[in-house]
């Protein structure tokens, strides 16, 4: 039987807000193996970054996302994480944590960064918005001029 958190997630990836971005080619659902899901996000150079989300207690708890290698079904080697300038290197920083992105909507990153709640309200996790919030933040980053390339 499908859990309530999985049902909520599946409803969100089938929502108009998520599909709207998918139809623009900005992101898309790859697969679900609860409590994980793989979602790709398109970068400015048209490459795709695959993210693996840990989604226990979704949407009450924020997701934890990490770059993922779909071919080997393992965490993406840090040498292959997106690189670029200020914002990209801050958000995609395996030296800080190879299992999370350094952005306010990430469950791991927000811990100990209460000041982000005032500094970056538009990037915070919002259960009412759901996974669309997280992938949009990543999409905006990978579409910014700070993004140079995937390694």
């Amino acid at each position: 039987m499908t859990s309530l958190d999985q049902q909520a997630f599946e409803a969100d990836v089938n929502s108009g807000a998520f599909l709207n971005g998918s139809l623009s080619g900005r992101w898309g659902l790859d697969s679900i193996a609860w409590p994980h899901a793989l979602i790709w996000v398109r970068a400015g150079d048209a490459s795709q970054l695959l993210l693996r989300f840990e989604l226990t207690n979704y949407p009450r708890n924020a997701p934890a996302g990490q770059p993922w290698d779909g071919e080997s079904n393992a965490a993406l080697s840090p040498s292959r994480w997106p690189r670029g300038h200020d914002r990209i290197n801050a958000a995609f920083n395996p030296n800080w944590n190879a299992s999370a992105l350094y952005i306010p909507c990430d469950r791991i990153a927000i811990q100990g960064h209460e000041v982000w709640r005032q500094q970056h309200p538009s990037m915070l996790w919002d259960p009412a918005v759901g996974i669309h919030r997280y992938v949009r933040v990543v999409s905006d980053l990978l579409g910014s001029p700070d993004y140079v390339r995937a390694q």
Partner: protein, 167 residues
Amino acid sequence: MKNIKIVLQRGGTAQVLVGDVNGQQTVGDALKALGVTDIGQDLIHAEDHDGPVDLKTPVQALVSGEGEGGPAVLRLHQGRCHRVSVNVTFNGVTKSRDFPPVTRVGHVHQWATHNAFEMSPRDAAEHVLELEGGDERPDSDTQIGTLTDGTLCAMAFDLVPFKRVEG
């Protein structure tokens, strides 16, 4: 065969409806497929078309091209506004222009940064549109008609820097 994706957004609401139709079906058929059976006094706008469209128009006639790497997509807007008056304020200067309500925020950003405030491409990408008087930054695929109150056909943005996350 249902080969066209329909995206419908409506004046004054954040809800996005998505469905499938075939090209021979009309705009009215597409609305029914999305559960919209009576539009009352509302107008229907299609992206890349300046004025309201007739409900009897085949959706195929309104699709301007293939989807971006995917299926063909027709974006529709339902609401009372013929046009939406948009103000964008940057560094204390406000520029204004009217757009069809189906226009997406990403297009308004393009106009504001390149045409209205003549920013370089890099500076343009370093600034985002934020609803005036708040901290909400609508997604680039949001239609501006949804950001009105549904009756007053006007809205205002601030163009603000995209702050780096640090600390």
